[in-house]
Amino acid sequence: MVETSRSIVAFLLLLFAASAAAAEAGIYTIVDGDVRVLRDTAWFRLAPGARARHGDIVDAGNEYAQVQLEWTGGGIMNLQGPALVHTGAVVPADNKSGAAELVVQRGWIKVAAGKRPMRLRLPNATLDFVDAIVVVRGDAERSELFVESGSAKFIPVVARGKAQTTLDAKSGEYLERSGDRAAVAQPRPPQAFVTALPRQFRDALPALAAHFAEEPELVRGREITLAEAEAWLAPGASRRTFVRRFTPRLSDPAFRTGVNARITAYPEWDRILHPEKYRPKETVPGK
């Protein structure tokens, strides 16, 4: 009887988790150019009207690519390629009080956040804001933030043990951090930033979700390669999540070969690929 109850509870939890995972986070309302989305370990060609899912990784391939995501709970994000963004924990069902997270590997992104707190993770900085509009340009070496309206907190990513200084940016202010140097704040964005700004970022992001009642069928592409996955497997807060997510790819010989070639960088997979290393050694009694 107890075993049956436990099974039922486990099944319900699984069902809840599955539904949460599949719950719509929002709608991709603008898709221009070469844009794909990674779901689990497969790339799909993104199309306007597609529903955003928890864990989507959006790749806007080149400078002509543009993506806009409108979240179900409010807020709009617009990406200008080339850009790579993990939409993270943007699941209304299980994240009612927490911040919605975006992990930005590179690219231009404009976010109009509603009442729900928003967190953007860049390679060398984290941004926290609510009810604000921010424009961010980031890559592996540099992060730039312009607060179009509202305010934001700019938190430089520092090595463990070092003091972390949070900077407050008000409406109209610009912050920039290169590498691990100190962040620099300016009252106005530099002309180079304004000149390079994607044209559509100069206007308010339009709300278009009402135009997409039907969800299109996305065309499935190939599986993610190790080269593409490496950006998400780098040391950081999300590494563990992605190690778990990409583990099924070890069944691909090419993926496995690549992992083996740099196995020291993937200790979690070393246990899976080379379990013999981790078997307890047999001891002979008496010797």
Binding site: E148, S149, G172, P187, R188, P189, V194, L197, F201, R202, D203, A204
Partner: protein, 289 residues
């Protein structure tokens, strides 16, 4: 002096007087109409400028509010929009002009010249003065100007023009911090000035005047000639004939001619009377014999 000369002298005098009066009245009327036409053109241009300003502030600027956070767009400024619209028109009609002449402008091209500053100061000195119309000579000819005051009638104007600290930073980036600040609410800070060339309507009025006077002169001339012909045919020639016959009769030539006349007008009545008089005279002469 012969009757026809007296008649012609009087007629000529009347014609000349009438010609002069008609010329004076028509010239004044045509010039006034031409000026009124120019003023109406200027008013129409002024209303078009005001419409451009209103369209810009109510329809264009709200659409570009977000863009203004990144770069100042002069296209959102009503004065700039009105001026640019007229600059487009001036490419084909260079004699027309529009300027929002300001004593302390943000954009240096709007700074008032000497005569424009005089107009602005008239408006600043007199609250009741809402419009000024005048004429001035320019290299392209005589020009009529119509000016209306620009005052800081809305608090929204002071967002950009009160102090550098309050003004949009993007505007200060573009124009600097030296000009266009310190304006006060309800202060007259400049004038909208429309300039319209006077040459075309005035030329047209002068041509109309010449045509009218020429027509009048021709009419007078034709009337003069016709009257002379009629006077000669209907009066002078007939009276001359009557006088000649009466003269012959007075000299004893009773067979000189006949006073009969077919017409019943005054000359005809005179002819009849003279004829009866001749008959009476002949009878009297016979009785005396």
């Amino acid at each position: 002096m012969k009757l026809i000369w007296k008649f012609n002298l009087v007629l000529l005098g009347i014609f000349l007087l009438g010609f002069a009066i008609a010329g004076y009245v028509s010239y004044r009327a045509l010039q006034a109409n031409a000026r009124e036409e120019i003023v109406q053109n200027a008013r129409l241009m002024m209303e078009a400028a005001l419409a451009s300003r209103t369209y810009t502030s109510t329809q264009v600027k709200p659409l570009l509010e977000t863009q203004l956070k990144y770069a100042f767009l002069p296209q959102t400024v009503p004065a700039y929009a009105a001026t640019e619209v007229f600059n487009e028109m001036r490419k084909r009609h260079p004699d027309y002009g529009y300027k929002e002449a300001t004593l302390n402008p943000t954009n240096p091209r709007d700074r008032a010249s000497d005569w424009e500053a005089d107009l602005v100061n008239v408006f600043r000195g007199s609250q009741s003065s809402k419009e000024l119309i005048g004429e001035r000579d320019t290299p392209t000819g005589r020009t009529l100007y119509l000016a209306r005051p620009i005052d800081v009638s809305s608090a929204s104007c002071l967002v950009c023009h009160s102090s550098v600290e309050v003004a949009p930073k993007t505007m200060v980036d573009l124009y600097g911090s030296a000009n266009g600040f310190g304006w006060k609410f309800q202060e007259v800070i400049g004038a909208q000035i429309v300039s319209v060339p006077m040459s075309v309507p005035i030329t047209r009025a002068n041509e109309t005047f010449r045509a009218f006077m020429l027509s009048l002169a021709l009419v007078f001339l034709a009337t003069f000639v016709l009257l002379n012909v009629m006077l000669h045919m209907m009066v002078i020639r007939r009276v001359t004939r009557l006088a000649s016959i009466a003269d012959q009769v007075s000299l004893g030539n009773l067979d000189a001619g006949d006073f009969k006349s077919k017409s019943r007008d005054e000359i005809g009545v005179l002819s009849e009377a003279l004829g009866r008089m001749k008959v009476s005279l002949v009878q009297a002469m016979r009785m005396l014999e």
